[in-house]
C-alpha cells in the first residue's frame, strides 16, 4: 500500500489522489486499505514513518564501520542521497509532497528532519576554535540539506540527486571543520 501510495501520489499529486487511486496502484481492495489506515493522511504518515525508519537504518549501517566523524557524515549523506535517488516516488513523496500534505504532515516532516541532528552534534568536538557554534547550527544545517534535496527533487526528480553530494557534504562540514578541510573532503567525495 505504501508503494501504491507513492505511485498514485506521483501520478496525481497529493491533493488530488484518492483512496481508489492508491488501492488500484497497490492492487488491493478498499476494505484492505481501511483495515490498515483511517484516511489518506493516515496512510501518508505511515508511509513517511516507514521511509524515514528505513533511511535511519541505512545511515546507521553506513556509519557503523567508519571510525572518524567527518567520514561518518559523508557516508550518512551518501546513504541518504543514494536511497532517495534509487526510489524516485518515495523521495518525491517524503520531500516534496509532505510539505503540501497539510499541517500534521508538515509538522511531522519538520520533526523528522530534526532526528538527523544527533549525527551532526559530535562535530562540535572536532572544532579547532574555542568559540562555540550557535545553538541553532544543527537545526539550520538539517533544514538546509532538506531544502536542497526538496528543491532538487521538485525541479528535476532524483536522477541527478547524487551530484549534490559534494556540495551538501561541504556545506554540512564547513561549520565544524572550516572551509578548507570541508572543501578537501567534498573533493574526496566527488572523486569516489
Amino acid at each position: 500500500l505504501i508503494a501504491g501510495l507513492a505511485v498514485a501520489v506521483g501520478e496525481h499529486g497529493y491533493n488530488d489522489v484518492t483512496i481508489t487511486h492508491i488501492t488500484e496502484a497497490a492492487s488491493v481492495s478498499r476494505r484492505a486499505f481501511y483495515e490498515h489506515f483511517e484516511s489518506k493522511e493516515d496512510c501518508f504518515l505511515a508511509a513517511f514513518e516507514v521511509v524515514v525508519g528505513h533511511i535511519h537504518q541505512l545511515v546507521d549501517e553506513a556509519m557503523e564501520p567508519i571510525p572518524d566523524w567527518p567520514h561518518q557524515v559523508l557516508a550518512a549523506l551518501r546513504a541518504i542521497l543514494g536511497f532517495l535517488s534509487s526510489e524516485p516516488n518515495l523521495a518525491h513523496l517524503c520531500l516534496v509532497d509532505s510539505m503540501a500534505a497539510g499541517p500534521a504532515v508538515a509538522e511531522r516532516f519538520r520533526a523528522t528532519v530534526q532526528t538527523f541532528i544527533p549525527l551532526l552534534e559530535p562535530g562540535r568536538a572536532e572544532r579547532a576554535s574555542a568559540r562555540p557554534l550557535p545553538d541553532s547550527t544543527e537545526d539550520s544545517l538539517v533544514g538546509a540539506v532538506a531544502s536542497l534535496l526538496s528543491r532538487s527533487i521538485a525541479a528535476g526528480g532524483t536522477a541527478r540527486l547524487l551530484e549534490l553530494l559534494p556540495d551538501v557534504s561541504e556545506f554540512v562540514l564547513t561549520p565544524y571543520l572550516g572551509p578548507e578541510e570541508a572543501r578537501r573532503l567534498a573533493l574526496e567525495v566527488a572523486e569516489d
Binding site: G13, N15, M99, A100, A101, G102, P103, A106, E107, R110, V113, R127, A128, S129, A130, R131, L133, P134, D135, S136, T137, D139, S140, L141, V142, G143, A144, V145, A146, S147, L148, R151, L164, P166, D167, V168, E170, F171, T174, P175, G178, P179, E180, R183
Partner: protein, 242 residues
C-alpha cells in the same frame, strides 16, 4: 489651482463616481484580505472555508466572488499582500547605502521584527503557504530565492568566494527558513528576534574563515597569506550587532 493644470491632469467630473466606487472596492478588498489573514492563520489553509472568510470579513458570497475566483485565489492574494508588506520592510532597511555586512544585519533584523510584529501574517507567509497548492508553493520558493542575489554579494568579501559552490546560498536560505518555520509553528513568535545573533552567524559562516582555527596551518597556506585580516570586519560588525 486646478485651472492652471494641463487638461489631462485636471479632475474630470464624469469620473468621480467611477473612482469612488473603485475606491470602495479597493477598501473592501483590503478589509477582506485582513480578515482572510486571521482565518488562514487561525484555521490553516486546509481548515479555512470561503464561509469562514465571509463571516470574518462580514461580506456576502456575491462580493467574495467578485473579488476572488475561489478560496485558493483568495489565499494567493492574501499571501501576496502579506509577503509584499514584509518585503517592503526588509527592502527599506536594505535600501540604505551601506556595506554588505551592515545591510545583511539590518535586513535580517527587519525581517525578524516584521515576523514578530505580525504573527498571523508570518504564519500565512511561511507556514500555510506551503500547504496551499502548487501556485502558492511556487511563490514561496520565489520569495525565498529572491534573497539569493543579496547573499551572493558576500562572496566578494570572502577569501573563498570564487570557489564556493552555487548551492551555498540556497542552503543558507533553506536553513534559515527552517529555523523560522520551527519557531513560528511552535508559536514562539514574540521571541523570534532572539534568533538574530545565531541567524547572522549561520548566514555569515560560509563567507568567513575561522580566524582562531588552526592558525599554524593557515599561515603556510598561500591562499590565506594574501587575505590579511579580511574576516575581521565581519567579526567586528557581528559583535556590534550582537
Amino acid at each position: 489651482m486646478a485651472g492652471s493644470l494641463p487638461e489631462h491632469l485636471s479632475s474630470v467630473p464624469v469620473g468621480v463616481t467611477q473612482l469612488s466606487r473603485r475606491q470602495i472596492a479597493h477598501h473592501r478588498r483590503d478589509r477582506v484580505l485582513s480578515a482572510a489573514v486571521d482565518v488562514f492563520a487561525g484555521r490553516g489553509y486546509r481548515g479555512a472555508t470561503v464561509d469562514h472568510i465571509l463571516v470574518a470579513a462580514k461580506i456576502g458570497v456575491g462580493s467574495f466572488y467578485e473579488l476572488f475566483d475561489n478560496r485558493e485565489d483568495c489565499f494567493l492574494q492574501t499571501y501576496d499582500r502579506v509577503a509584499a508588506t514584509g518585503r517592503e520592510r526588509v527592502e527599506s532597511a536594505l535600501s540604505v547605502d551601506r556595506p554588505w555586512l551592515e545591510r545583511i544585519c539590518v535586513g535580517l533584523r527587519a525581517l525578524l521584527a516584521s515576523i514578530a510584529s505580525g504573527p498571523k501574517a508570518a504564519r500565512v507567509a511561511l507556514i500555510e503557504v506551503q500547504t496551499a497548492g502548487p501556485a502558492a508553493q511556487a511563490r514561496h520558493q520565489a520569495m525565498l530565492d529572491s534573497f539569493i542575489p543579496l547573499l551572493r554579494e558576500g562572496r566578494e568579501l570572502s577569501p573563498d568566494g570564487a570557489s564556493l559552490s552555487p548551492s551555498v546560498e540556497p542552503a543558507i536560505v533553506g536553513g534559515l527558513a527552517f529555523l523560522l518555520e520551527q519557531r513560528i509553528s511552535a508559536g514562539e513568535i514574540e521571541s523570534i528576534e532572539d534568533l538574530l545573533p545565531d541567524a547572522l552567524e549561520i548566514l555569515l559562516a560560509p563567507y568567513q574563515r575561522e580566524e582562531e582555527a588552526a592558525p599554524v596551518e593557515r599561515s603556510v597556506s598561500s591562499a590565506t597569506v594574501s587575505i590579511g585580516p579580511e574576516p575581521t570586519p565581519l567579526m567586528v560588525a557581528r559583535a556590534a550587532v550582537i
